[in-house]
């Protein structure tokens, strides 16, 4: 399933870089598209603003097929407090913009599965695909608005995985 998780994240990251090249973050001195996998970064006590954070949750496998079909729930959490120049009064608009970017990132609802344990990444035989996202109600914490989108990511296990 790791290849599927990696492929899903990289697909979203690459798409975000095209959809909104200005949405970047500097992590460990490297500027990159503003999306990260929670379990692959240092723990954070609070959800950072203006970044998409992927959190992998429940995982199940379907063994009734010739190729094992895995499905994993991915929560994509994001928050914003708006912009400083507008004193945060644009936080609703900023969240809507992130909603829009997220939906664009998730479309099309599939991507080629890649193996990132080698460089360059090797193209595998199947595609990773996922459900349309379910968006939670907006959560308000002082000046911060946040939302969680949930998708289920499917992938067929290939030989050697």
């Amino acid at each position: 399933m790791q290849n599927a998780k990696d492929s899903f994240y990289v697909a979203l990251r690459n798409r975000l870089a095209v959809i909104n090249p200005a949405r970047t973050v500097t992590l460990r001195a490297v500027q990159r598209p503003s999306i990260m996998v929670e379990e692959a970064e240092p723990p954070q006590v609070q959800l950072a603003n203006d970044i998409f954070v992927l959190r992998w949750r429940a995982e199940t496998v379907n063994l009734q097929l010739p190729s094992v079909l895995t499905q994993t729930t991915c929560e994509i959490r994001y928050a914003t407090s708006g912009s400083q120049q507008n004193a945060g009064l644009d936080r609703g608009r900023a969240l809507t913009e992130m909603d829009k970017e997220l939906l664009a990132m998730l479309t099309p609802l599939q991507t080629q599965k890649l193996n990132f344990t080698q460089t360059p990444a090797a193209v595998m035989q199947t595609f990773v695909f996922w459900t349309e996202p379910t968006l939670s109600p907006v959560e308000v914490l002082r000046d911060q608005l946040s939302r969680t989108a949930t998708v289920t990511v499917f992938a067929f296990e290939e030989q050697g995985e």
């Binding site: 009734q64 097929l65 010739p66 459900t131 499917f154």
Partner: protein, 322 residues
């Protein structure tokens, strides 16, 4: 001091049904017979030739349409005997995956290859007249095709490997009787018609300009002289047509205690046209497989000459009472 071994009688506990199919030689009217005495304990992942594993199936349902009636006499009438009025059996199930063979089995009628065609051809629902075939050179095998001239086919291509149609009538197709031709005019005297219906197909896994390596051996074995190669884009079947495919089938329920239940249908013909069954994976995502339904036709049992539609064999667990 004595030791008593207690043998258990247990129900068959199984998780899945596995399906295996083999061709019926239509020209000779010979089904492929599965012999439980010889092959009953076969490795489910490596069935004996010529059986082809088609994986796990679901919604497996056997139905007997055989009728038994009482023969009565006297007043009041009393049943004295029973008579067998008719023998009939059907079986249905859904394949979990799509392949050439699973689609053909579930087709219910003629199944065809969609041959690659020039873009300028006249549109035909089952595929336009094909791009001309490429001849095979010397040294081809069931897994390696040596072309007589450089080819543009690449890894990932699907190919149909069979002879030209030369105006013959009757059963055609190498390895498996793929179609019945009534007259050359019915198939437009099309030189590619055998390759259009052939089951002798394979996926190219690697290619050079003159050699194509296949992922699996061709069903008909090493190509014979005169066979040619054409690119296949996919497969097509139709609601309609007069052709009845026929297959031999084995279904296996493997028990958790090592026991095994085997159903063998020597001759199956479809009772329905193409249908699909879907399982919901998640909201707006479905898993779709071909649905198959068959009627069993009889063979003569070699032990006592009785006409038989299907066999049920139970191989007990090593620890079970019999």
């Amino acid at each position: 001091m004595s030791t008593t071994t207690t043998l258990l009688s247990t129900p068959l506990v199984t998780r899945r049904v596995q399906a295996y199919f083999a061709p019926v030689n239509r020209a000779q009217e010979q089904a492929t017979i599965f012999d439980p005495a010889v092959n009953g304990s076969f490795n489910l992942s490596a069935p004996p030739a010529p059986w082809v594993a088609l994986g796990w199936i679901e919604n497996f349902a056997r139905q007997s349409g055989s009728k038994v009636a009482p023969l009565s006499s006297g007043s009041p009438a009393t049943t004295l005997y029973q008579v067998r009025e008719s023998t009939d059996a059907t079986v249905s199930f859904a394949f979990k995956t799509w392949s050439k063979l699973s689609m053909a089995l579930a087709a219910g009628a003629q199944h065809m290859n969609v041959l690659a065609a020039p873009l300028t051809g006249i549109a035909i629902g089952s595929g336009a007249k094909a791009t001309p075939a490429a001849a095979l050179g010397v040294g081809s095998s069931a897994t390696s095709l040596v072309m007589s001239a450089p080819t543009s086919l690449t890894a990932g291509s699907i190919v149909s490997v069979d002879a030209d149609y030369l105006g013959q009538t009757g059963w055609i197709g190498s390895g498996i009787s793929a179609a019945y031709v009534n007259s050359a005019s019915a198939v437009g005297d099309d030189a590619d018609y055998v390759r259009r219906v052939s089951f002798n197909v394979g996926r190219v896994v690697s290619a050079t300009s003159t050699t194509l390596q296949l992922a699996q051996p061709l069903l008909a074995g090493n190509p014979s002289t005169g066979m040619k190669v054409q690119q296949v884009l996919g497969f097509v079947d139709r609601e309609g047509g007069s052709f009845f495919p026929e297959w031999s089938a084995v279904f296996v329920m493997q028990g958790e205690q090592g026991d095994r239940l085997i159903f063998h249908y020597p001759r199956l013909q479809p009772t329905s046209y193409p249908r699909e069954v879907s399982n919901v994976l998640a909201a707006a995502i479905e898993m779709v497989g071909p649905q198959a339904a068959f009627r069993a036709l009889p063979v003569v049992d070699g032990n006592d000459g009785e006409q038989v539609l299907c066999y049920r064999t139970y191989l007990p667990s090593p620890s079970a009472l019999v």
